[in-house]
């Protein structure tokens, strides 16, 4: 049971990989394995962490060539081959280093975001696109005294999208993001769609227009990797397809 970890910091000519023999413990997660590495081998290993319970979205990284949350991914399941996710291939998950998937877990930083150190990436561009779509609930009618009434069925539909934890796994898994760094990407678009389907805003809906640009809805090539890697079951590709259909219909009618 070994961990093979990507190491890089400023000044290094090229990244290197460190291999670490893990002391096995039951149900050990990749995050726990990284702590073991940090505590037993090298305290300079850098990675982000917070909740360790798959709710905060901090620890997304490329694990065995799939973007996932380190805290939710068990080492043993990976070695047994139980956690394979079939995603469409793209350059950023190509071979970087030889590794034995039956013996080793390969941990690398999320693709498509600049590496700062080891497994820590700069999330700046990811949140820049989040801000670009202006994810703020601003209904056009004045606030009522109490809550706005909502059909429980509509809440269910909305929850599919409010569950996003902004971990950027989808961003890292998207072949289009890899080719076109100006594409808003699946997370921002799914977030925008969440506001589009919020039934509390009863006015003429212009939400979808915010991403009605070449690098918005229209840039998606429907690979669907986003749907497959999301740790919270959010389906950005589905949202994008629906948004595109709605915009096309609107344009036809106009």
């Amino acid at each position: 049971m070994k961990l093979k970890v990507y190491r890089y910091h400023e000044g290094m000519a090229a990244p290197r990989y460190d291999t670490f023999q893990l002391v096995p413990s039951p149900a050990m997660t990749v995050l726990e394995a990284l702590f073991q590495f940090q505590e037993k081998l090298d305290d300079s290993l850098a990675f982000r962490y917070s909740c360790r319970g798959a709710v905060c979205g901090t620890c997304a990284m490329l694990i065995n060539k799939v973007p996932r949350l380190a805290c939710r991914t068990q080492v043993e399941s990976l070695l047994k081959g139980n956690l394979k996710v079939a995603i469409a291939p793209y350059p950023a998950i190509g071979e970087t280093v030889p590794w034995d998937p039956e013996e080793e877990v390969l941990v690398e930083p999320l693709p498509h975001l600049p590496v700062i150190r080891d497994l820590i990436v700069d999330m700046g561009i990811f949140f820049q696109y989040y801000r670009f779509i202006a994810p703020v609930f601003r209904p056009s009618d004045p606030d009522p005294e109490k809550e706005r009434i909502m059909d429980p069925a509509a809440v269910k539909k909305l929850e599919t999208y409010t569950n996003c934890v902004l971990c950027a796994a989808c961003h890292a898994a998207c072949p289009v993001v890899g080719q076109n760094p100006e594409y808003l990407g699946p997370a921002a678009l799914a977030k925008l769609y969440r506001f589009h389907v919020d039934p509390r805003d009863v006015e003429e809906d212009s939400t979808l227009k915010r991403a009605d640009i070449p690098n918005g809805w229209w840039a998606c090539d429907l690979y669907g990797n986003c749907n497959r890697v999301c740790p919270k079951g959010v389906p950005p590709r589905t949202a994008i397809e629906k948004a595109v259909a709605a915009l096309n219909k609107e344009k036809k009618e106009a």
Binding site: Q38, C51, T58, F137, D143
Partner: protein, 567 residues
């Protein structure tokens, strides 16, 4: 580099962000400093809900809930240690806070009539807990962050606050280490609001995020503020066996039951009326006793059985819980009972703050879990912490807005001096060679806290525990780090956290030893009864000349007379 603001908020969870929005509403220049991105704050993990007497669901006898009912349940739940004026404020403001979030966009779960849904929670006389499935914190935090980010309120992410700066007995700002660069920044402000969360990670079995190291209370204590009621630590009855990830009380609110190894619904013996929905302290002790008396499962856990709720209800109301059980214990609650055990969950104590969030140190305010305004007393009710964050996040911000009106910024000099001494201190730590590694010491501390200051406490064990803490405090002075870099040195952050945690551990220990009674979460086997005559008072801990002193202050009582708690 020195930054200047009217109001500086330390912490980017629900309290900090709610306060930041209120400060921005007032047109003041505010900023948030947080050691993580705000969305990674522990608020995001809150599951079950937020208490407010909206009255959307009627009580069993058809009556409607009211803030007074909420206040009564809260005071009784607190074992009468909560300040009743603060509780009244919380409960009166709670419905507004929930509605505000709704207006800002939070997607609350709904009743068939479209109103915000409410469910029963432990220790509550009405179905009062508003929820967004079992992801209430997540939904509320994302909503607030959306507004903070939309208004472009400055957020200093991944900045670890290293000291509070004082001048003439007043807090005028702080220093903070920027993780990515290793640079120490200075912040000068007319008022500082501490909203940095709890200190659960001083215990080894905790539901808390790994970042909950109590940095705020430790900083405040060092700067001259007092800590209050630190011995009152909540142990949640149902944390997942193995990882201690929280399994919400909402699981029992929805009808889940606890079973021991013999398949017996043992809560019927401990709380005949409320059964599985007795308050957390009662249920946690009952489970611990079942395990101690050999009726738990090997390894020390009992079963939380949800199977009778059926697949539809589990997937609709408790989807997050189901996923957690599958991911982290390999158990699907639709098919099998979930193995649970008690674990540290919440810090009732914290920075001593009055009903407006003001602390003993002028210029420093505190709210949320890092504070003890004292709405939870000796035991917090489920659903009351989320509501506390947003109610007092706003109210304390309002007090600050009022107070800073007549204030001017201090000059930069004390902050400059603080930056220099922080740099010296960091360089000193990095220069050290030999000694122990920080990680091992931390494990010794967290084990010590759980073993000696856990659910059942006793003088001799606690004395040993305190001795151990003092010993570790000595050791920490010799700890060295392998990583000597300034930039992105997480080992350094862990060391700085540990120093603060050891202070808090001592405060918990001293408070617990001195309180010779049992009240709420503080259960002494050598003093099994509540003693209102001698201990219906708040514990205060202060630091003078590097020595901790314990003192007391009275509880603000009110219409609810202390009575025996029966559930």
């Amino acid at each position: 580099m020195i930054h200047h603001y009217d109001v500086l908020i330390i912490g980017g969870g629900l309290t900090g962000l709610r306060a930041a929005l209120r400060v921005s509403d007032a047109g003041l220049n505010g900023a948030v400093v947080s050691k993580v991105h705000p969305l990674r704050s522990h608020s995001v993990a809150a599951q079950g809900g937020m208490n407010a007497s909206l009255g959307n669901v009627k009580g069993e006898d058809g009556t409607k809930d009211s803030w007074k009912n909420h206040a009564y349940d809260t005071v009784k739940g607190s074992d009468y240690l909560a300040d009743q004026d603060a509780v009244e404020r919380l409960c009166r403001e709670a419905p507004t806070a929930v509605i505000e979030l709704e207006h800002m966009g939070t997607v609350w779960s709904r009743l068939a009539d479209g109103k915000i849904a409410q469910r029963p929670f432990g220790g509550a006389g009405f179905p009062r807990t508003c929820y967004a499935a079992d992801r209430t914190g997540h939904n509320a935090l994302h909503t607030l962050y959306e507004h903070v980010s939309g208004r472009q309120i400055p957020v200093y992410e991944e900045f670890f606050v290293t000291s509070l700066v004082t001048k003439d007995g007043r807090c005028i700002g702080c220093t903070a280490l920027e993780l990515m660069t290793g640079q120490v920044h200075g912040f000068l402000a007319k008022a500082v609001l501490m909203a940095s969360g709890g200190f659960g990670r001083i215990f080894n079995k905790s539901t808390n995020a790994l970042i909950n190291t109590g940095d705020g209370p430790a900083l405040a204590l060092r700067a001259g503020a007092l800590l209050k009621d630190m011995e009152f630590v909540q142990f949640h009855p149902t944390t997942l066996y193995g990882t201690n990830i929280l399994i919400t009380e909402g699981a029992r609110g929805e009808g889940g039951i606890l079973l021991n190894q013999n398949g017996e619904r043992f809560m019927e013996r401990y709380a005949p009326n409320s059964v599985d929905l007795a308050p957390r302290d009662v249920v946690a002790r009952s489970i611990e006793q079942e395990i101690a008396e050999g009726r738990g499962y090997d390894g020390g856990y009992v079963h939380l059985d949800l199977r009778h709720l059926g697949a539809a209800r589990i997937t609709e109301r408790l989807p997050g819980i189901r996923q957690i059980a599958i991911d982290f214990a390999g158990v699907d609650p639709i098919q099998d009972p979930v193995p649970v055990q008690p674990g540290q969950h919440y810090s009732m104590g914290g920075i001593d703050a009055d009903i407006n969030g003001a602390t003993a140190l002028p210029g420093l305010y505190a709210a949320g879990e890092c504070a003890c305004i004292s709405v939870h007393g000796a035991n917090r009710l489920g659903g009351n912490s989320l509501v506390e964050t947003v109610v007092f996040g706003r109210l304390v911000a309002e007090k600050i807005i009022e107070d800073v009106e007549e204030m001017t910024l201090a000059n930069d000099e004390p902050v400059k001096a603080a930056i220099k001494s922080t740099n010296d201190r960091i360089e000193g730590i990095l220069r050290r060679e030999g000694g122990e590694l920080v990680f091992g010491i931390k494990d010794v501390m967290t084990n010590n806290m759980s073993n000696k200051f856990g659910i059942f406490r006793e003088k001799q064990k606690m004395r040993e525990g305190l001795d151990e803490i003092k010993k570790i405090q000595e050791q920490v002075g010799h700890v060295s780090l392998q990583n000597k870099e300034r930039k992105l040195n997480q080992a350094l952050i862990r060391f700085l956290e540990l120093e603060g945690m050891l202070l808090l551990a001592e405060a918990v220990a001293r408070g617990a030893l001195a309180r010779e009674e049992s009240r709420g979460s503080h259960k002494r086997t050598d003093y099994p009864e509540r003693d209102d005559l001698n201990f219906l008072k708040h514990t205060l801990v202060g630091l003078r000349d590097d020595t901790m002193h314990v003192s007391y202050k009275p509880v603000t009582l009110g219409v609810f007379e202390p009575r025996e708690r029966v559930y």
